[in-house]
């Protein structure tokens, strides 16, 4: 079985590197702003931030092509920004306003974009896994060479429907990439306390699905692994598993007492493994960018986020007639 730990890096230009830096920074700043708006009561309910995990979606989106689909859990803001959805529309959905992607009816956890092939935004842990395989099934059925990305967490990886899906995906050679975002915790449960075996990338072995564990804090390693997985799927060989070793810096949602890990553990990863700092160092060391270039980029990103927040606060609430629309097609 081809289940192995690899960290092959793809060759990459300075321009591309800068683009990844910018994409990751946009997610980070967007999420910080979302956390702030939540604190002010402009966002309600649950709000799961993606801070720390930015390299995963940014690296994988770099290996995707037009027409590929993606689907994920409630921790979805990063995925939406990375696939090119408008930060304004995403933020306005978080505030439950008319300008949001679901016109305010879905909220943080339930957002979609038919245009960008983003199929949600799912509130039920692991429900997106068979759905992701279904998107791949549709590609196979139509005979195109698109693939789908089904993102899910280490906690979700224990749900039964994941394994039902693995079996069928392998049996029918569905072109789907299962991306396990192993951030080590499912709410307050560390993966060690919920999983009988620690290596999620091995979990396809019984179904003959190849898997790789990838340093999910390194956007280049992610991109390289993504390219391999995509090649496998596009060539008709069936599904592929990528276990992304990553970390969430913030609480599970907004109300998280964080008693299950130490502040030192979080600090250590932030200091030693931060995906954005890593690329910043590469840019400076490789002389692809100066400190001033990056400062300008920071400013540009901050502006995009401020505009999104302003749009999200100014956009009106949905018209009350919307209560009864979209129930049936």
């Amino acid at each position: 079985m081809a289940a192995a730990r690899k960290t092959k890096k793809s060759n990459i230009s300075g321009e591309e590197l800068k683009e990844h830096y910018r994409s990751m920074l946009l997610i980070r700043r967007f999420e910080e702003k979302a956390g702030q708006l939540y604190g002010m009561g402009l966002i309600g309910g649950f709000c799961h931030l993606y801070i720390g995990q930015e390299a995963v979606v940014v690296g994988l989106e770099a290996s995707a092509k037009e027409g590929d689909q993606r689907v994920t859990s409630y921790r979805d803001h990063g995925h939406m920004l990375a696939c090119g959805m408008d930060p304004k529309g995403v933020m306005a959905e978080l505030t439950g306003r008319e300008g949001g992607y679901s016109r305010g009816k879905g909220g943080s956890m339930h957002m979609f974009s038919a245009e960008k092939n983003f199929f949600g935004g799912h509130g039920i842990v692991a429900a997106q896994v068979p759905i992701g395989a279904g998107l791949g099934f549709a590609n196979m059925y139509r005979g195109n060479d698109n693939v789908s990305f089904a993102y899910f967490g280490d906690g979700a990886a224990n749900q039964g429907q994941v394994y039902e899906t693995f079996n069928m995906a392998s049996l029918w050679k569905i072109p789907v990439i299962f991306v396990i975002e192993n951030n080590q915790y499912a709410m307050g449960t560390s993966m060690k306390r919920s999983s009988s075996t620690p290596d999620f990338y091995h979990r396809g072995a019984a179904f003959n699905i190849p898997g790789q564990a990838v340093d999910g804090m390194d956007v280049l390693a992610v991109k390289a692994a993504g390219e391999e997985a995509v090649k496998h799927c596009r060539s008709g060989k069936g599904p592929y598993i990528l276990e992304m070793l990553t970390y969430r810096y913030r609480g599970h949602s907004m109300s998280d007492p964080a008693k299950y890990r130490t502040r030192e553990e979080v600090q250590k990863i932030r200091q030693e493994k931060d995906p954005i700092d890593h690329v910043r160092d590469l840019l400076i060391e490789g002389k692809y960018a100066t400190a001033d270039d990056l400062k300008a980029l920071d400013k540009e990103v901050k502006n995009i986020v401020s505009e999104a927040a302003e749009f999200a606060a100014d956009s009106p609430e949905p018209a009350i007639e919307e209560l009864y629309t979209d129930i049936y097609a």
Binding site: G41, G45, K105, Q159, M254, S255, P257, Y324
Partner: protein, 461 residues
């Protein structure tokens, strides 16, 4: 200009909190993401992080201060180039704090508007089966549920609790607080996120004679486990000709919380009530939560015990009676009246009682019945009341089609037809998935106004 740091809302239901501890001092340099303070909410103690880089100019609220309102300034942050002189002149953390343009109420006003249950049992309550001279202690629903489980776990070694985050995390909604400490990991069991699997395991353990309590983080996730609740737990006694029962409790938060959207806001009361072999309980008060949960744990049948997140923090008087239980299948009359019978259960009682108060001011006397149990249902109490008042309104948060209220209407039509002076009206949640937007969510839920209007309609006022 200096930035005001505001007291954050750290949970969907938080209105105020305690600033337990400052982790920074005036003059400290902070970077975004750094933990500034520990804040205690109704559910947990949490860390609060900086959003901007800068220097702490001033701490405005001393540590240990209780009841700090959300959005109240708690500190001043000086940005690059600010000096202490800027302290006087501050701007809030973000200028985004503008109310929505349409909709008559801005998002912010939402929270304070949420109707409150009476803090204690009102004098009107018709207390049944509680001996005269009983004293009461004010307890939250949350504490009462925990007390019930703890008492039953002390009573019998066969009772155990399993579910997601019930042990080390102390429960996602802090219902199982302290149980791990008292009963240990053999009896308070954290499960992986595998509802179908662990529910099946619990049902098997119940077949073997143990008494599992299965906590669903919320009942939305019990949909994953539906097959075992219905096909395995509810039907086996019958299918085995009475040989093999399933003494199990399925409990957790049910129905809408606040702003959590369609997939997390579904009231399943009517669904479970449809299934022979299940008992279904949905308490409103803390006393009933405690007494009914104890009865449910002792019951030889599978009991679906539906709680409500919004009620968890509400306080009610709980009788100081040792081993206090409430029988399953018996309704309670909260308030007696002559003009109309309002029947509700769970959080619906909040609207029913508020409506009764308002109607009383207008001279309409409502009798309010809390069903407490949905299956078996105490239809006798409803019928008796309707024979007196001749009118009935039902109140629930669930969907209108095939609702609990529909069933009550049918029972009344068949068993009290000649006593009805008006058609029964069912007040329910709207026939739509729960929207996220604040204004639409408010419209989707049943309201006190709707109950008042319904009562006026059936009393022809």
């Amino acid at each position: 200009m200096a930035i005001q740091i505001l007291m954050p809302a750290l949970s969907p239901t938080m209105e105020e909190g305690t600033l337990s501890k400052w982790l920074v001092a005036e003059g400290d340099e902070v970077t975004s993401g750094q933990v500034l303070a520990e804040i205690e909410t109704d559910k947990a103690t949490m860390e609060f992080e900086a959003v901007d880089d800068g220097k702490i100019g001033k701490l405005l609220v001393a540590e240990g201060t209780e009841g700090v309102k959300v959005n109240e300034p708690i500190a001043v942050l000086l940005e690059d180039g600010d000096s202490a002189d800027d302290l006087g002149e501050t701007k809030p953390t973000a200028k985004a704090e503008k109310p929505a343009k349409s909709g008559d109420t801005p998002t912010q006003a939402e929270k304070s508007e949420t109707p409150k249950a009476p803090a204690t049992v009102s004098a009107d309550v018709v207390m049944e089966d509680i001996p005269e001279g009983t004293t009461f202690t004010s307890r939250t629903v949350r504490e009462s549920l925990r007390d019930a489980m703890a008492e039953e776990m002390r009573r019998s070694g066969d009772v155990f609790l399993m579910g997601e985050e019930v042990a080390e995390y102390q429960g996602a909604y802090k219902i199982s607080q302290g149980l791990l400490e008292e009963f240990g990991p053999k009896r308070v069991i954290d499960t992986p996120i595998t509802e179908h699997g662990f529910t099946g395991i619990a049902v098997g353990a119940a077949f073997a004679g143990l008494n599992p309590i299965v906590e669903f983080m919320t009942f939305n996730f019990a949909l994953q486990a539906m097959d075992h609740i219905i096909n395995s737990a509810a039907k086996t006694l019958y299918m085995s000709g009475g040989q093999m029962g399933c003494p199990i409790v399925f409990r957790g938060a049910n129905g809408a919380a606040a702003r959590v959207g369609a997939q997390h806001s579904h009231d399943f009361a009517a669904w479970y009530s449809q299934v022979p072999g299940l008992k279904v309980v949905m308490p409103y008060s803390a006393a009933d939560a405690k007494g009914l949960l104890k009865s449910a744990i002792r019951d030889p049948n599978p009991v679906v015990f539906l709680e409500n997140e919004i009620l968890y923090g509400r306080s009610f008087d709980v009788p100081d009676i040792e081993d206090f239980t409430v029988p399953i299948g018996k309704a309670k009359i909260w308030r007696s009246g002559d003009d109309v019978t309002i029947v509700s259960f769970g959080i619906g009682m909040q609207y029913a009682l508020e409506a009764a108060d308002r109607l009383a001011e207008e001279g309409i006397s409502a009798e309010v019945i809390d069903l407490r149990s949905l299956r078996p249902m105490d239809t006798e109490t409803i019928i008796k009341s309707v024979k007196k008042t001749n009118r009935c309104v039902t109140v629930e948060e669930g969907f209108p089609v095939c609702s609990v209220g529909n069933h009550i209407s049918s029972v009344l039509m068949q068993q009290a037809f000649d006593y009805l002076d008006a058609p029964v009206i069912n007040c329910t949640g709207k026939d739509v998935p729960m929207p996220y937007a604040a204004n639409l969510e408010r419209l989707a839920l049943v309201t006190t106004d709707e109950v008042v209007d319904a009562v006026k309609a059936v009393t022809y006022r």
